[in-house]
Amino acid sequence: MINYWPLIGILLVVIGFALKLNPMLVVTASALVTGLIAGMGPVEVVSTFGKAFNDNRIIAIVWIVLPVIGSLERFGLQQRAAHLIRSMKRATVGRLLIFYLGYRQITSAIGLQSTAGHPQTVRPLVAPMALAAAQKSHGDLTDADADRVKAMAAATDNVGLFFGEDIFIAIGSIVLIQQTLATYGYNLEPLQLALWAIPSAIGAFIIHGFRLWRFDKRLRRVPR
C-alpha cells in the first residue's frame, strides 16, 4: 500500500508560496512536516534537515566574490562599464546579450560555470553594459524599460548557464542522473548523458537569441 501522506509536504510548499509567506519558513515547515508524516521522530527530523543543509554548504562559497565586486563598485566599476559600452559603436543590447549568451554556454560547457554569474558578472559588468547600450541606441530609458533591460541581462545568464553546464561531464546534474538510473540497473557513461544535452543547448541559443534580436526592435519602437 502506497503512503500518500508525504505529498502534504509538497502541498505545504505550494500553499505557502501562494500566500506569499516567507520562503525560509515555508521550506522549513514543509521539511519538518514531511519528515514527521514519514514517521521520523522530532529529533530525527531536525537532524536529517541539519545534515542535508551541512552537506550542501558548497552553495554558500560563491559569495566570497562579493568583497571584490563591492570594492570595485566603490571605485566606479559600474560607471566605467557603462562608459565603455557608450564608446563602442554598433553595440546594441541584443547583440551584446547574444554574445554573452554564447560565451556563458561555452564556458559552462567546459566546466567553468562558476566563473560567471549574477554576483560575479551580471551585476558589475553585463547589466550596466546592456543599459548603456540601450541608452545609446534608444535614448533615455524609462525606469520600466531600464528594469526590462536588466531583467533580460539576468535572464540571458540563466539560460546560458542552464543550457550549457549539462554538456560538462563532471557536473552535479549529470552525476545525479547517472546515480539515479544506476539504482534501477541502467549503468550509463557520463559522456552519453552529456552528449544528449547538446541538442537542447543549440535550441536554447536559437530560441533565446531570436528573442534578444527581437528585443532590440521592441525597444526601438518606444518613443524617445
Binding site: 503512503n3 500518500y4 510548499v13 509567506l21 520562503p23 525560509m24 521550506v27 521539511a31 519528515g35 514519514a38 527530523v45 537532524s47 536529517t48 534537515f49 541539519g50 542535508a52 543543509f53 551541512n54 550542501n56 554548504r57 558548497i58 552553495i59 554558500a60 562559497i61 559569495w63 566570497i64 566574490v65 562579493l66 568583497p67 571584490v68 563591492g70 570594492s71 570595485l72 563598485e73 566603490r74 571605485f75 566606479g76 560607471q79 566605467r80 567546459i110 567553468l112 562558476s114 549574477h118 558578472t121 559588468l125 528594469d147 536588466k150 539576468a154 535572464a155 545568464d157 540563466n158 549539462d166 545525479l176 542522473i177 539515479t180 541502467y186 548523458l193 544528449w196 536554447a204 530560441i207
Partner: protein, 317 residues
C-alpha cells in the same frame, strides 16, 4: 591536499566578519538580527562538521526563524557617493576592469591547467573541486591587487561585501535550504506516492501523453521545489523508469539527460529558484521581484516543447 574544507574556512571567516561589522552598524535598527543571521552562517561554514546533525538542524531553524520573523534590517555600510564613483571611473579608466577579470580568468586558466597539464598530476586539490579552489584563489589575488593599487581603507572590501550581502538578505541562504528540503522529500517517499498517482492518471500504453506528463511534470515539480535536482529522482521513480524505459523501451540516456533539461525549463519560471530568479532581481535592484522570471517565460516554454519533441523523436527509435 586542498579540500573544500579550506573554502568553507575562507567563506566562514568572511561571514564572521560580516556578523561583527553588522553588530557595530548603528544605522541599522535591527543590527543584532543581521549579526546573528550572518553569525550562524559563519558557524555553519567554520564548525558545521563539529556541531553534529542535530546542532546543524537547530542552526537551520535559527536561520529560518531570523529570516521568517523579520529580524533582518537594512544596513548602511560606509561607501563612496555617486559623484565620487564617477570621478574614480574617469581617473582610473578601463584598467578598473582588470581586477574583476582576475576571478574568472584565474578560475578558467587554473582549471584548464590543472586538468590538462602536469600541473595537476599530483592531485593536490580535492577531486572535482578544482574550479572552486581556483575561484577562491582568483578572489584572493583580486583583493591583493585592489589593496595595492587602489589603497582602500583596510575594512572597505568587507564593508562593501556586507553592503551587497545585506541587499540580497536571506535569499542568499534559500538555495541551500531547498537542497536540504529535497533530501527530506526523498527520505519520506514522495517519489513513490507520485508514481502511484501517475499510474492512475495515464491511460496504459499512450506514449505521447506519457512523455508530455514526464517533461511537464519535471518542469512543474522543479517549479514547486525550486530545484531540478530535487525533482529528477521523483519523476524518474514515478514515470521515467517504469513507464518510459521499461514499458516503452526508451533510451535511458536520452530520457535522463533531456528530462533533467525539461526541469531546467521549470527553473526559469519559478520564484522557488531563488538564487537564479530572485537574487539577481535584488542584486540588480529591480522594482518587480519577478522581473527576471517574466523575461524568461517566453524562452522556457518553447524550450520545454523542444525537449518534449526531442524525447519523442530520438528516445524510442
Amino acid at each position: 591536499m586542498i579540500t573544500l574544507h579550506w573554502l568553507y574556512m575562507l567563506a566562514g571567516a568572511m561571514f564572521a566578519a560580516f556578523a561583527i561589522l553588522s553588530a557595530t552598524d548603528r544605522s541599522n535598527g535591527k543590527r543584532f538580527g543581521n549579526a546573528a543571521f550572518w553569525g550562524l552562517m559563519a558557524l555553519s561554514l567554520l564548525g558545521g562538521d563539529r556541531i553534529g546533525n542535530f546542532g546543524n538542524g537547530l542552526l537551520v531553524l535559527g536561520l529560518a526563524g531570523l529570516a521568517g520573523f523579520n529580524f533582518l534590517g537594512k544596513s548602511h555600510p560606509p561607501t563612496t557617493s555617486e559623484p565620487e564613483r564617477e570621478a574614480f571611473s574617469a581617473r582610473l579608466g578601463n584598467r578598473l576592469f582588470l581586477p574583476a577579470l582576475i576571478i574568472p580568468v584565474t578560475a578558467l586558466a587554473g582549471t584548464l591547467l590543472y586538468n590538462y597539464t602536469a600541473f595537476g598530476a599530483a592531485g593536490w586539490i580535492e577531486a572535482k573541486r578544482e574550479t572552486y579552489v581556483f575561484l577562491a584563489l582568483g578572489v584572493l589575488i583580486a583583493l591583493s591587487v585592489i589593496y595595492i593599487w587602489l589603497r582602500p581603507p583596510a575594512l572597505a572590501p568587507l564593508q562593501e561585501g556586507r553592503r551587497l550581502i545585506d541587499s540580497i538578505g536571506w535569499a542568499a541562504v534559500l538555495p541551500q535550504m531547498l537542497a536540504a528540503l529535497g533530501v527530506l522529500f526523498a527520505a519520506a517517499g514522495v517519489g513513490d506516492a507520485i508514481g502511484a498517482l501517475a499510474g492512475i492518471v495515464i491511460p496504459e500504453g499512450n506514449l505521447i501523453l506519457t512523455v508530455i506528463i514526464y517533461t511537464a511534470g519535471m518542469a512543474l515539480f522543479t517549479m514547486i521545489m525550486g530545484n531540478a535536482f530535487a525533482a529528477f529522482p521523483v519523476m524518474a521513480a514515478a514515470i521515467g523508469v517504469p513507464l518510459l524505459i521499461v514499458q516503452h523501451h526508451g533510451n535511458p540516456a536520452v530520457i535522463g539527460a533531456v528530462g533533467m533539461l525539461a526541469g531546467f525549463c521549470g527553473t526559469l519560471m519559478t520564484p522557488m529558484a531563488a538564487n537564479f530568479n530572485l537574487v539577481p532581481a535584488a542584486l540588480l535592484e529591480l522594482k518587480d521581484q519577478y522581473g527576471v522570471i517574466r523575461a524568461q517565460v517566453m524562452t522556457a516554454l518553447p524550450l520545454l516543447v523542444l525537449n518534449t519533441l526531442l524525447i519523442l523523436l530520438v528516445a524510442f527509435r
